[in-house]
């Protein structure tokens, strides 16, 4: 029996995240959707999702008074960031004329660009939307039973550029190779949406709810 807190700060469809966790968690586990900083701090593990723009996300985190509890949870217990919940862990995003983020990791969030093209010059659509491959760059408990290069569902216009290569847990190709997953100690975060990625995504969430928080 454990409590899994899904942080709700008003950004996006969290119902699917909760639904998917309920499917993979033990029947005795409690999956809670919460905006309460105390509940986030008390939970055994924390899922930090998010959609929308970086500026709105950061504003909402502060309006809900969640900055400190997210930062603490990210350093202390099994923690899973999803989509914007990955991007705002970084220092700075280009989005909304520049947005200061939580700064838990060094790096930048950048725009794919309006003239984004692949290596052969074919126009690439932005947002990067659909099923793309995640190449696992380190072995990690959260990749357990997930084939390397499995496809996950993505939808984003900005991507992460980390300064420390040892943070990398997965990369994806969209015109160039970008960071699609990072891992450090008790934290794992993904650009894609495991709750929308069919079997591979459910397996990742299953791995997360059973993870002891060690790399």
């Amino acid at each position: 029996m454990q409590t899994i807190a899904v942080v709700d700060y008003g950004m996006g469809n969290l119902r699917s995240v909760v639904n998917a966790l309920q499917v993979v968690a033990d029947d005795r586990d409690q999956v809670i959707l919460t905006s309460d900083p105390a509940q986030v701090l008390q939970a055994d593990r924390v899922v930090f999702p998010g959609q929308g723009a970086a500026g709105d996300c950061m504003r909402a985190i502060d309006e809900y008074g969640l900055r400190e509890s997210i930062t603490v949870a990210a350093q202390q217990r099994p923690f899973l960031g999803i989509c914007m919940g990955l991007q705002v862990l970084i220092e700075h995003s280009e989005e909304n004329q520049g947005t200061a983020c939580l700064g838990i990791f060094k790096g930048q969030v950048k725009y794919f660009g309006d003239g984004h093209k692949d290596q052969s010059g074919v126009k690439l659509k932005v947002p990067h939307m659909g099923w793309n491959r995640v190449t696992q760059t380190q072995s990690h408990p959260l990749w357990h039973s997930i084939a390397d290069d499995s496809r996950f569902y993505f939808v984003h216009s900005y991507y992460l550029e980390v300064e420390t290569p040892d943070l990398l847990a997965g990369v994806t190709d969209y015109g160039f190779s970008f960071t699609s997953a990072i891992a450090r100690d008790n934290l794992f975060a993904l650009q894609c949406h495991p709750e929308k990625s069919a079997d591979a995504g459910l397996q990742l969430l299953r791995n997360f709810v059973n993870w002891d928080g060690r790399p």
Binding site: N13, S16, G52, D114, M129, W131, Y153, G201
Partner: protein
């Protein structure tokens, strides 16, 4: 390139029941949205689109329950269209578990609605559905106009201008239906699709006219669509999604089949 082209089955829902699904042979209840969603998911559908065709707006709540039920057990993206006119409609569907909503008529009558919706909920969940009909003669360069009311009412709006405007207003994706081809089973209007896909930044879903698997492949290869949507060829069990993917892969199109 490693981003897969998507195949999206579209289900018409009337009062909480899938219509057109009557010929399905091996599912218990042909009209049950959850059964249909489950089956398409197992076959490898990349997303699902539900179009609420319920005539009365009093029955919209039914669609909310459909979305809730499907989202509880099918973990691929879900789009809901039909009757999305206000921000409250979008919020209701997203809260029920939809990932995207598709806005059609309301965008034509009030383009600012798209901007407000994208601003409020993020472009990633705003699909603008565009119903286009060719208005140029056969020997002229293609010109397509936006139509409403199932292709009956012209608006005077040029399709290529319209899709660029919707892109600028924050649409995250364009669902493009050729009203000339819809229901004909002779294939997408690939010239229309290609021109739209070339002028917008966002992904384009081709729709209207699919009768066989070659049409799906043509939508990608000739129409330059990012995704293809079809209803009847999947509903009536003529083709399975898995067959469609095998067919496309054999023609060099990257699909999700692993």
């Amino acid at each position: 390139m490693s981003l897969a082209k998507r195949i999206i089955p579209c289900l018409d829902v009337d009062n909480g029941r899938v219509v057109k699904g009557v010929k399905f042979v091996d599912i218990r209840d042909a009209g049950d949205p959850v059964e249909n969603a489950r089956r398409y998911n197992l076959e490898g559908a990349d997303e699902l689109t539900f179009l609420d065709i319920t005539a009365s707006s009093d029955d919209r709540d039914t669609m909310v329950h459909v979305v809730e039920d499907v989202a509880r057990e099918v973990f691929i993206p879900l789009t809901v269209g039909g009757g999305i006119r206000e921000l409250a409609d979008i919020r209701r569907m997203l809260n029920a578990g939809a990932d995207k909503v598709s806005i059609n008529t309301a965008a034509v009558f009030n383009p600012e609605f798209v901007a407000a919706a994208a601003d409020k909920f993020g472009s990633q969940c705003i699909v603008v559905a565009v119903d286009a009909k060719r208005v140029s003669a056969e020997d002229e360069p293609g010109r397509w106009e936006i139509f409403t009311h199932g292709g009956r009412k012209p608006t005077g709006i040029d399709t290529l201008e319209w899709v660029q405007k919707m892109d600028a207003y924050g649409a995250g994706e364009i669902l493009l239906t050729s009203m000339d081809r819809d229901g004909t089973k002779i294939g997408f209007d690939n010239e229309l699709t290609r021109q739209v896909s070339e002028v917008v930044r966002v992904p384009v879903i081709a729709s209207g006219g699919v009768g066989n698997l070659q049409h799906l492949a043509d939508g990608i290869l000739q129409g330059k669509a990012d995704a293809v949507l079809a209803a009847s060829i999947f509903h009536f069990g003529e083709y399975r999604i898995s067959e469609a993917k095998a067919f496309m892969r054999a023609r060099g199109i990257e699909v999700r089949d692993d």
